[in-house]
């Protein structure tokens, strides 16, 4: 049973990912749900076409994905220059269905404090639990959130070493449902790997999370990279599905933030300032 289709203009005026070109190439066509509407994606000249109730929907093919919008004039998609850098490998690491709102999934992607507890032995390890001070800004010109100077202790930080060390991260949130993180490459410490999450909001409390990477690495196989990312996401999924309320609360008094949550606080304020009212619990609701 489908809920009332989303009428929130903020959501309707954005582009949303619906399927990776990888998956579409294999399957030929794909049926899914976007903003409570059934959609069908078929291969076509220029890449793909999206249909809703057999009527065409605005379609964009970019960054390895098919994007759709129900808006009247959706703004161009955010810049993601690393996708076009010739020496990077682009790997689609999977798509995950999760019973949670897009906002909760993005916040989890921005969060470092859970590494030792949820991604134990991979992205973090007790007793090294401290989230050190970092910087967050909301860039007015680019309309995106940028968190810089983020550092977190990671066991086996480099391929060449068994020692743990602080790894540096930069997080971008250029779209209410999309985020890209940059982290020092274990292979070449002068470059940053880019890891993205593009969330497809199926409903207010149901998503498909599209994940992948643009990385400097010619040693690992695609399978290794996918297995790693699927392990990480598989650890996050049960946490996400046990968060209440499922929709992201925008009222500052709904939950208890700490300094480590600076980026999440900025994200909630940014969403509230946009007037978003779908997939979230607006302040004062």
């Amino acid at each position: 049973m489908m809920a009332q289709p989303c009428t929130d203009t903020v959501m309707l005026e954005h582009w949303h990912p619906v399927v990776s070109l990888d998956e579409l190439r294999g399957a030929g066509r794909c049926r899914t749900v976007l903003l409570d509407r059934p959609v069908e994606i078929v291969r076509a000249a220029g890449g793909a076409r999206v249909l809703c109730d057999s009527a065409p929907v605005q379609t964009l093919v970019q960054y390895g994905y098919v994007w759709a919008s129900f808006g009247t004039a959706p703004a161009p998609l955010f810049p993601f220059p690393e996708f076009d850098e010739a020496d990077r490998r682009f790997v689609v690491t999977g798509v995950f269905g999760v019973q949670v709102s897009a906002g909760r999934a993005i916040e989890n992607f921005l969060d470092m404090g859970h590494f030792p507890y949820v991604h134990t032995g991979i992205l973090g390890e007790e007793p090294h639990t401290e989230v050190k001070e970092y910087d967050v800004e909301i860039s007015q010109s680019r309309d995106e959130i940028l968190a810089t100077r983020c550092r977190f202790y990671q066991p086996k930080a480099a391929v060449s070493s068994d020692e743990g060390a602080d790894v540096e991260y930069i997080y971008r949130v250029p779209h209410p449902n999309c985020s890209v993180l940059y982290k020092s490459s274990p292979v070449d410490e002068t470059r940053l790997d880019a890891i993205y999450i593009f969330v497809q909001p199926m409903g207010q409390e149901k998503i498909r999370a599209h994940t992948g990477m643009c990385i400097i690495d010619d040693a690992s196989t695609d399978l290794d990279i996918r297995s790693f990312q699927q392990t990480i996401f598989g650890q996050d999924k049960p946490i996400l599905e046990n968060q209440y309320p499922r929709r992201l609360p925008l009222d500052p008094r709904a939950e208890t933030p700490i300094r480590a949550d600076k980026s999440a606080i900025a994200y909630r304020r940014w969403l509230a300032a946009k007037g978003l009212g779908w997939g979230v619990i607006p302040a004062g609701a």
Partner: protein, 562 residues
């Protein structure tokens, strides 16, 4: 609709649902509960939601004293549900007011009973009084609780309603409680009033009876009402904003009774302080309380307890040459007396992001170290507690030391103490921390030896009982309060703190001799003349904070962030 009355008491779990270190997911009237038993037997019924990011606490880990959230490792104390540790900020003490919502709970007749908004104390249904009941398997039903109760009353001819949500059958010796999970769902909880001869047969037979009842209820065709709409209470406004460094701190808001007073060592009295009403706030290892004495003084004492304990235990060393606080506690305060104390305040927080922790205690300085050692022991972080004392009879709380990783160093002089400290402090490594509390000469020696052995300053944590320095208050200077937009003159003979308080600026304070760190204030401009023993050398050199009770200005003017 009396069944959906929030004031009613209902069974929400069987006692057997709470085996050791388990967390049970309970429900009542649209609310979810995390139900867990601490090792001391106390049953906690909490809202099933971590205050930080809303993750269900029923997924958390019960360590016997505290519940740890699965997502970010926040620890909440049994009883008070206060947050005692936030791993993302290991050097900070969490605000005491971060506290989960708790519900009243009573364990009786093999079940745990709770109420969403009780208007009266729990009263065991009379039919269960004195019974040795056998609790049957709960049977969940997809139907309104009122519908279930009406059909349950038709189960046997001699039905008699008890209260609003249960029915008893005298001949069968059976009572059926209808636990209202929500407006459209409930659980049938059956209890046999006496242990049957053939337990297995009775369990099987009555399970069949209750399942049959469930089938009839669900087939009754009544349309289930929509679920109850239950909101979440907002957190305290003070916690919703960053940064969360607590500034205010009322002085004596708690009343405690001396439940026990005893000789904890030679010249040391132990006091076990119990809440006069309700539950004492959660404390963190390293925290102290201000104790307000019958003679009008107020003194600071560290809490010695392990995580999850309900009372505060403090140790007071008799100091005949002191200012009279310890003499008053030793002489005048007796078991049964009521004292006014402050809420716990933690200016000596224990980092737990350490690979190894050294705890060094001299004499009565053992008190905060005991709380730390017990917390580290529970959490399984490697540590070593070194206790320096004149003799075994001078080691306070020796009973609490049993089972801890403790080494005693007895009867050493200054040179002998220095040699032992040199041994203990050799071999610094990354992620090691040392905490020290004791007499001033020992603290000074420890800090010097640690520095010489390569310990970075940020890995050496100390707490002085008192400031051994002679305070020079002969200068006069001007202070400008940036946030309060006031300029005040501090004359010779008065402290910044006194001038602030006289002018109506509320600055929390505790020891008022530059040892405890409570009256800290940010410095925006000017050069402080530090006379405290709380700040480390690096913190002093940064000149961006000041202990307002003793420190003064080197410059003619200080601009304070207050």
């Amino acid at each position: 609709m009396e069944m959906l009355d929030l004031a009613g008491w209902h069974p929400i779990a069987a006692s057997s649902d709470l085996p050791t270190r388990h967390v049970f997911h309970g429900q009542l009237l649209g609310r979810e509960f995390a139900v867990w038993r601490a090792d001391d037997g106390f049953v906690n019924v909490w809202e099933n939601r971590c205050l930080h990011r809303g993750v269900r606490l029923s997924l958390g880990l019960n360590d016997g004293r505290e519940l740890r959230c699965l997502y970010h490792g926040w620890r909440y104390s049994s009883r008070s549900a206060g947050c005692t540790y936030i791993p993302a900020h290991p050097a900070d003490a969490p605000a005491r007011t971060i506290c989960n919502r708790t519900y009243d709970a009573v364990e009786a007749a093999g079940m745990v009973w709770s109420s969403v908004a009780p208007e009266a104390e729990f009263a065991l249904p009379e039919v269960l009084a004195g019974a040795d009941p056998l609790v049957l398997r709960p049977v969940p039903v997809n139907a309104a609780p009122g519908v279930a109760l009406a059909l349950a009353e038709g189960l046997l001819p001699d039905a008699r309603a008890i209260g609003a949500a249960s029915v008893s059958f005298a001949e069968a010796g059976l009572v059926v409680f209808v636990q209202p999970l929500d407006a459209h769902r409930c659980v049938l909880r059956g209890v046999l009033l006496a242990q049957p001869d053939d337990r297995m047969a009775a369990l099987r037979y009555h399970d069949g009876v209750l399942c049959g009842l469930r089938d009839r209820i669900e087939a009754s065709g009544e349309v289930a009402p929509p679920p109850l709409e239950v909101g979440f209470q907002p957190v305290d406004a003070a916690l919703a904003e960053m940064p969360a460094r607590a500034r205010s701190g009322p002085k004596a808001e708690l009343r405690v009774q001396v439940a026990r007073k005893w000789d904890a060592a030679q010249d040391v009295a132990g006091f076990q302080l119990r809440a006069v009403r309700g539950v004492l706030p959660a404390f963190q290892p390293g925290a102290h309380i201000d104790v307000h004495l019958p003679n009008g003084m107020s003194r600071q004492y560290s809490i010695t307890n392990a995580p999850g304990e309900s009372d505060y235990t403090i140790g007071v060393k008799r100091d005949a040459a002191g200012r009279g606080g310890s003499v008053c506690l030793h002489g005048d305060v007796r078991e049964g007396d009521v004292l006014a104390i402050s809420a716990p305040r933690n200016n000596f927080p224990l980092r737990r992001d350490s690979e190894k922790v050294l705890l060094i205690a001299g004499g009565i300085g053992i008190t905060p170290m005991l709380a730390m050692a017990q917390a580290l022991q529970v959490q399984g972080i490697p540590y070593a507690l070194h206790v320096f004392a004149r003799s075994e009879a001078h080691v306070p709380f020796a009973d609490r030391l049993a089972g801890l990783a403790v080494t005693r160093h007895l009867g050493l002089d200054a040179a002998g103490t220095g040699a032992v400290l040199g041994d203990i402090l050799s071999g610094y490594a990354f992620s090691h921390h040392v905490y020290v509390c004791g007499p001033a000469p020992m603290l000074t020696a420890t800090r010097e030896i640690a520095a010489g052995a390569g310990w970075p300053e940020e890995a050496v944590h100390f707490e002085y009982f008192a400031n051994p320095e002679v305070i020079d208050d002969s200068t006069s200077f001007e202070i400008a309060l940036a946030r309060s937009a006031m300029t005040l003159q501090v004359p010779a003979g008065r402290s910044i703190l006194e001038v602030l308080q006289e002018n109506g600026v509320d600055v929390p304070s505790s020891c008022e001799q530059g040892a405890c760190g409570t009256c800290v204030c940010g410095v925006l401009e000017g050069e402080p003349e530090h006379q405290d023993v709380y700040l480390s050398a690096a913190e002093r050199a940064a000149n961006d904070q000041i202990m307002t009770c003793v420190s003064r200005a080197r410059s003619a003017r200080l601009v304070l962030d207050i």
